[in-house]
Symmetry: C2
Subunit: 200 residues, 2 copies
């Protein structure tokens, strides 16, 4: 156990704890005390690894972005339409967590975005931007013109995010399943109407 390993290990552990607590309790309600306890690190030690709560939050956002890229990469074997279906269904794989705490990206964005001055607002926006950019890519691959694909991607992500908000608000896994199914149907209708247009 050389120092470098320990240091990196505790850093990662702090980010993991903060990521979970920001999701479960919200950014402003989460204290460094709570993060330190969950990570098994003394309170005063947190500032050795991260100079401020903000810098820790930046590391959390970077970790979320990395998770997203890993997920997208793991779906590469599928076709564009099936990839979008996988995205739509992805909240179901952690339905309990979504119903209790909402979307870890969406809820963090909403909270951070209230403070427009904060550098965290811009960083957080990158999370939802990643959702939209990736969706627009898949839609482009399906043959949609670039500007239309961007619009549709926005509609798709808005529908998924809004669905997670409602499922959380009413603590209803059924709502999550049903409404995500309707989003999937909407996507398929767009696809088939597009296919018809191409035939005509």
């Amino acid at each position: 156990m050389n120092p470098a390993y320990d240091s990196a290990g505790k850093r990662k552990e702090l980010v993991r704890a903060a990521k979970e607590l920001f999701h479960h309790e919200g950014f402003h309600k989460t204290t460094l005390q709570m993060i330190a306890r969950s990570a098994g690190v003394p309170l005063g030690n947190v500032h050795y690894y991260f100079p401020s709560k903000q810098s820790l939050a930046e590391a959390v956002i970077a970790s979320h972005l990395s998770d997203l890229q890993t997920a997208f990469a793991s779906w590469e074997s599928e076709g564009p339409l099936e990839r979008l279906r996988t995205l739509i269904r992805s909240p179901l794989r952690s339905a309990d967590s979504v119903v209790q705490f909402g979307c870890p990206h969406g809820s963090l964005c909403q909270e951070l975005q209230k403070d427009a001055e904060s550098p965290l607002a811009r960083a957080g926006a990158g999370l939802l931007q990643a959702w939209i950019d990736w969706s627009a890519e898949q839609l482009t691959a399906l043959g949609w013109e670039a500007s239309v694909a961007r619009q549709m991607a926005g509609q798709l992500v808005a529908a998924i995010q809004g669905t997670m908000l409602l499922a959380q608000t009413f603590r209803s896994p059924e709502l999550l399943t049903d409404q995500l199914g309707r989003v999937e149907s909407w996507l398929e209708e767009q696809q088939s109407s597009s296919a018809e247009r191409r035939k005509a």
Copy 2:
């Protein structure tokens, strides 16, 4: 200026200030100090009108609900379809505020709902429930079967709420206008396909 008037006036002023600050800063970031200052009331006096921050938040939610009912009542002269269009367009009337701070109901719900134990979570849910119930009523009046109307209402509110989250995240009034227009188009497509089914 009898005491009852003054008392009621300051109570209302505290609720107004808290409603605005919860929207602009978020519930947890807003302190009683900030509310007292905005309302022109000494800090120690807040607890004379409201025993706790929570009871003040309950009054804020009740005020939001009252606003909603007032808005719904003012749209009664229109037909059901036009009423739904008015709902979809309603974020545009305060576009700047939505882009900066998000939906006052949706963002409050998301924050309060993280703490399932809190009575505020249940109270907050009443706000989005009002959106859905009212939308389902209009859809029922348009001839949709009750359970279908509920599902469609959920989809509609999810789309509007998700759109507001994206518009806030990217600080884009254009995104708000464009995507709400797409929600309106979706609603009209549902209506016309329903009319076709009835003809057939």
